[in-house]
């Protein structure tokens, strides 16, 4: 379909703001002005509405499709949280208001939400305190590693290395590297971290380890307690990547297990929508030894019940966001936690794990499942058998699109060949899971009898397979219309 620029008709007006009067360019001399207007769309409001409504229909989404994308926790995003986020009392609030003298009392509701959300996340994870500033999971990782660095610097420790298992999300090694650490990758054994592998690379220069638990294979790290001992033994810190919290929320608190830093992806476990790739929210929780290093400002509750921004933290790593993080996002997570309550949180986890195991069991005779035992909220399968006959994981993923399902995560984690990673979440019904299994079995059967039809999939989507090599080569990244 046309781009919004191709649709543009010179001179057509859309939403027309009020006419400025008087001195419209103020005292700005001509040499400081643009010589030509930017070439942007000129459309009626209806043109714009049609264009974006049409675009929306080209998307698969949780509202319209099963979305078993592993490690992304594509659960249903309750609509009432959108009502909450749109309340003008929150959405129209200027972030600098409570930073003005006497302004704090005018933003008590927002500060209370901030405070309460931190408390709830601390309770759910067993951490001492949280910062809500990180604006996405990877941003939380960066904050966490910066906290790690600040801790070691403060103690005079000479730490240069961070251990990352080979099953980790790509953001883990990338974060450690951009924060200035050397990344030491260790191989998994039977799908989980081998404490001996940790011991082998362990020395006084190890600042910490970044772990995802359950890991990206959907397996609980059974040697967790031994790893905690080892890392703490060299005054290292344990970082918990919260991407997979939906597997253990309410069942185990990562703080109790010995982790020192945790980031949560509110857009995963706590049901805030992904927005087609953001905004996310990646709050970071810490154990007692790191509280003094958290970003400022922190929100505190005074004896008179008033909430207050507090900047008095000498060891703080400073600001990592302009204000208090993605407030509009964690407001939704806050509302979601209140709705679920202590029991709902646990039931969400239990049913997520139930659904994943059900899906695993129903697929085990049709796809190779490399670590075929009780999994947590997700599991990985391998299409190596199919690939030998020419049908790859990618082809299976594309064929699922033709059936109206979004695809599982593919080719990740990197340690499983022809990997397909399924995460059904707790909000999908049994009949959706059954339909998905039936459709997938039909695809796998057809992979034997008519592989070409799978290799050619998808055919029902708005476009068929796209030429990615051409995209990278031609770099057609902006419109020419």
């Amino acid at each position: 379909m046309n781009t919004v620029f191709q649709n543009s008709i010179p001179g057509r007006k859309g939403v027309w703001p009020k006419e400025p009067k008087g001195n419209t360019e103020g005292d700005i001399p001509a040499y400081l002005l643009r010589d030509t207007s930017p070439k942007l769309p000129e459309l009626s409001e209806l043109d714009v509405v049609r264009h974006f409504t049409k675009l929306s229909r080209l998307n698969y989404s949780v509202d319209s499709n099963f979305y078993p994308l592993g490690s992304c926790t594509m659960k249903y995003n309750p609509k009432f949280t959108e009502t909450v986020a749109a309340l003008p009392g929150f959405s129209s609030l200027h972030p600098l208001l409570p930073q003005l003298e006497g302004g704090g009392r005018l933003a008590q509701g927002a500060l209370e939400v901030l405070y309460n959300t931190e408390q709830l996340l601390a309770e759910i994870t067993g951490m001492s305190a949280f910062t809500m500033q990180p604006m996405a999971g990877a941003h939380g990782e960066l904050t966490g590693v910066m906290l790690m660095a600040a801790y070691h610097k403060h103690k005079g420790n000479n730490k240069t290395k961070i251990i990352v298992p080979d099953s980790a999300h790509g953001t883990n090694p990338a974060t450690a590297a951009i924060a200035g650490f050397d990344v030491v990758t260790i191989a998994s054994k039977n799908g989980i971290i081998d404490p001996e592998a940790v011991e082998k690379v362990l020395d006084d220069q190890v600042a910490g380890i970044m772990m995802t638990c359950p890991n990206t294979l959907g397996l609980f790290e059974c040697h967790l307690q031994r790893i905690v001992e080892l890392i703490h033994g060299v005054d290292g810190l344990l970082y918990y990547d919260g991407a997979n919290l939906n597997a253990i929320m309410g069942k185990m608190r990562v703080g109790d297990a010995g982790f020192d830093i945790v980031h949560l992806n509110l857009h995963k476990t706590l049901a805030t929508p992904h927005g087609g790739g953001g905004p996310g929210s990646g709050p970071v929780g810490v154990s007692p030894c790191l509280v003094d290093f958290l970003p400022v400002p922190r929100v505190i509750k005074l004896a008179d019940g008033q909430f207050h921004l507090d900047y008095q933290h000498d060891h703080s790593i400073g600001y990592i966001a302009p204000f208090y993080g993605n407030f509009g996002v964690y407001l939704k997570a806050y509302a979601y936690i209140l709705r679920l309550g202590r029991e709902g949180i646990v039931r969400a986890t239990e049913n997520a794990v139930l659904a994943a195991n059900y899906l695993r069991k129903r697929l085990e005779n049709h796809l190779e499942i490399p670590y075929n035992r009780i999994c947590m909220h997700e599991f990985v399968a391998s299409a190596v058998g199919q690939a030998e006959k020419g049908v790859k994981a990618l082809d299976i993923a594309k064929a699922l699109l033709d059936k109206g399902h979004y695809a599982p995560t593919i080719y990740f984690p990197l340690i499983v060949k022809e990997c397909l990673m399924f995460e059904p979440t707790e909000t999908e019904s049994k009949e959706t899971l059954d339909l998905f299994v039936d459709d997938l079995i039909e695809i796998l059967t057809r992979a034997e009898t008519d592989p070409e039809s799978i290799q050619n999939a998808p055919i029902t989507t708005p476009v068929q397979r796209l030429d990615e090599v051409r995209a990278a080569r031609n770099m057609d990244l902006v419109d020419d219309a």
Partner: protein
């Protein structure tokens, strides 16, 4: 339980298929000594009760204020269609578009957004967005460091102090040297900045309009920078960019902006939108997602995420950035906003703000002892008061007016200086009342 569809009999059937007696049996891997006790949370609330609780909290925020507070974050009018379209579930409940064939809507929108940003900034390319204007500025620094293999940065003091504190935090673990050149009467000190450049410098960083609201031309400074192979980075205000001399024309290599003004509510600080555009020479150092246009196997036009070899999920510890997401929904809102207003509508919005700010400057200049100190400016200006600005602000809060942002907090010797912002929403009447209140507060 909310949002869980399974009936007890369905759960039984699923457990039977799995071959375990109970849900508890699925959690055997978690050591018993690590099991959580019952969480110290309240019982769940109904939807109605949650809404009631949150409405009560929202009511504790004072939002009937007449505000002249900006400082980089502005209260612009948001046309209804922005909400109506961006809140379609097909957009906001989708993930990052890994499966391009099933994500053409968001991919094409990102491509269109990139186009709009590149054209506003007058640079060749733009990415799919970053977290906010401050992180965009930091990522621009990292791009420059990687491109030049240098680590010294020259920074003008009139770049948002909110962002400068962020840069300081981020740079603390890296071997970056930040050299800050003091502003001169609310202007970037062009000579001072030029003199501070040397062959160790990775980038020069300026802002237009700057934090005080002053508008300047950086063409000569950027030319001098280019001669020494220094990257020129400029932080901008996108609505003003509809009429101000462009980063491209000035010779900037990277332009960044906080995109909040383009259809995003103030939201108490987020989610916002980090905009970034750059020259062709820097595209492979660009962080974040980038959408590209290509064709499918039948020759039909389509869109994909491209140049992914820069990114963490491919390159891991050698990636250009650790960033995984973008602010897709915020970028979509900005694109819809831009499409609804068009180039003329954006310009009129900018002009109305400028006109109101100049009206306000004239009125406030007549307050005894007050003096507007910078020019030329757009929709925001700095005024020196005959009393501490934070005291003035505190006094006027009681009357329901936020007079502006007191600059003394960030700038030594400027305790009496107040930063005053207007937008198209500011009325002349409210400006008149502000002038009277200020006069009365002296």
């Amino acid at each position: 339980m909310p949002f869980i569809p399974h009936t007890p009999s369905e759960q039984e059937a699923m457990l039977a298929t799995i071959g375990v007696p109970s849900i508890e049996a699925l959690f055997e891997d978690i050591p018993h000594n690590l099991r959580a006790q019952e969480l110290g949370l309240d019982q769940g609330l109904s939807e109605m009760d949650v809404l009631q609780k949150l409405r009560a909290l929202a009511a504790k925020n004072q939002t009937s204020l007449t505000s002249f507070l900006g400082a980089g974050f502005y209260d612009h009018y948001i046309p209804s269609a922005v909400d109506g379209l961006s809140m379609r579930g097909e957009f906001y409940t989708a993930y990052t578009p890994y499966q391009a064939e099933a994500s053409q809507g968001i991919l094409q929108a990102i491509f269109e957004y990139q186009t709009a940003v590149a054209r506003l900034m007058d640079l060749e390319f733009a990415n799919a967005s970053l977290y906010d204007g401050g992180t965009a500025l930091y990522e621009a620094m990292v791009m420059a460091a990687r491109h030049t293999k240098r680590t010294r940065f020259v920074l003008s003091e009139d770049v948002s102090p909110i962002y400068r504190t962020m840069l300081k935090s981020y740079a603390s673990n890296l071997d970056f040297e930040l050299v800050t050149i003091a502003h001169k009467n609310c202007n970037a000190d062009l000579n001072g900045l030029t003199e501070a450049l040397n062959d160790q410098t990775a980038a020069i960083i300026v802002q237009n309009p700057n934090f005080f609201g002053t508008i300047q031309d950086f063409t000569e400074l950027f030319t001098k920078a280019r001669e020494q192979k220094i990257v020129s980075i400029i932080s901008t205000y996108p609505i003003m960019q509809s009429l101000l001399k462009t980063p491209g024309k000035m010779g900037a290599d990277i332009a960044v902006a906080e995109g909040q003004s383009l259809g995003l509510p103030l939201n108490f600080g987020g989610p916002y939108l980090g905009m970034m555009a750059c020259t062709k020479a820097l595209i492979r150092q660009m962080p974040g997602r980038i959408a590209g246009r290509t064709i499918d196997k039948n020759g039909k036009t389509g869109y994909v995420l491209t140049l992914q070899a820069r990114e963490q999920h491919i390159r891991r510890e050698r990636a250009t950035s650790n960033i995984c997401s973008n602010q897709a929904l915020c970028a979509l809102r900005a694109l819809i906003y831009i499409s609804l207003l068009g180039p003329q509508g954006l310009k009129k919005t900018a002009q109305t703000g400028i006109e109101r700010a100049h009206y306000a400057a004239n009125r406030l200049n007549r307050v005894p002892g007050a003096q507007v100190v910078n020019a030329p400016f757009g929709n925001e200006f700095t005024i020196r008061l005959p009393m501490p600005a934070d005291t003035m602000v505190a006094k006027l809060l009681d009357a329901g007016f936020v007079a502006g942002f007191p600059l003394g907090r960030y700038y030594e010797g400027m305790d009496n200086h107040l930063l005053v912002a207007c937008t198209e929403k500011t009325t002349k009447e409210s400006i008149g009342i502000l002038a009277e209140l200020m006069g009365g507060a002296l």
